[in-house]
């Protein structure tokens, strides 16, 4: 254990740079509001006091893509909205992640027709899919915790 054993109880911790960086990324990940339809209500419920998302570091939800790391696509995306979604995703700074919340964002949901995009992964690369119509706030929190585990396992060599 090296340095820590020798220094005893002086409040020093050794870790790797990757672990420290990933820890800081997960503890203060700010989501971007992308509530489009009914799933937005459940996202708001997850952010509110009963199922608190700020326990997990998401204290604020930034509507601006320039100031957020995580994009939670909550709701159905229509064909006309897709270029807008892609443009906002491009405006987010690296590193960025996408959670596709609900059935309509993951696979088109109940809407198998000309107007709704069949899954938001046609335009943006998705990290975590949360199923449900709408998913309960606890399901969204489970999706966020899964994303955190993925982020904790990220290596620097993988950065795009």
């Amino acid at each position: 254990m090296g340095v820590e054993q020798k220094l005893g109880n002086m409040g020093v911790v050794t870790t790797t740079l990757e672990q420290a960086v990933n820890w800081s990324r997960t503890n203060a990940m700010w989501p971007m509001l992308f509530g489009l339809a009914c799933c937005a209500i459940e996202m708001m419920a997850a952010q509110a006091s009963h199922y608190d998302m700020s326990r997990f570091g998401m204290e604020l939800m930034r509507p601006s893509p320039r100031q957020s790391d995580l994009m939670i696509v909550a709701g159905r995306v229509s064909r006309k909205m897709a270029p807008v979604l892609r443009r906002l995703y491009d405006q987010m700074p690296e590193p960025k992640w996408v959670i596709s919340m609900g059935d309509c964002a993951s696979c088109g949901g109940v809407f198998n027709n000309y107007a709704i995009m069949q899954g938001v992964d046609e335009v943006v690369p998705v990290d975590v899919y949360v199923a449900g119509c709408p998913p309960r706030p606890e399901a969204l929190l489970h999706g966020i915790v899964t994303l955190y585990e993925k982020v904790r396992g990220m290596k620097f060599a993988e950065v795009k």
Binding site: R79, K80, P83, C107, G108, N112, N113, Y114, A115, I116, Q118, G119, D121, E122, V123, V124, P125, K160
Partner: protein
Amino acid sequence: MEKKLQIIVQKLEKEFGAIASETRGEVSLFVLAERIIAVCQQIQGQGFELLSAMTAVDYWPQENPRFHVVYEFTSVSKNLRLEIRVPVPGLNPSLPTVSGIYRNANWREREVWDMFGIRFEGHPDLRRILMPADWEGHPLRKDYPLGYEEPQFSFNSEEIDLRKPYAKE
């Protein structure tokens, strides 16, 4: 039918050769496509200030002419409603625009063009309003396919997965 409405409908029938029909208290007038502008001007003079709705219906393959463009007028001052139906044939469908008389017909006609493919001559800005600008086809016609993609079950999951477009980055 209300008395006030009856007088108006009879006048329109005589002047323009419209055919009236009534279902459950709602009056519907069939008018030919060439006369629609004159009918609309007459109706506006009679006190129908508001074009409350404008849509189209596709009756393919049962009926010919295929489309019916439906206008619904409301008179706020007299508390009356009137519906005008214009049959439009399926080959190069087109109608004169009423957006010079009723301003809100502008976006309604754009929607009818987008969903059915019925052109409106004289419209200042006829382009798609609900679908993306480069979309091909008119979705609410009866010969437009109903679904979009094949549902993925567990037995054909991989084959459909290979054909789906995924974003790379």
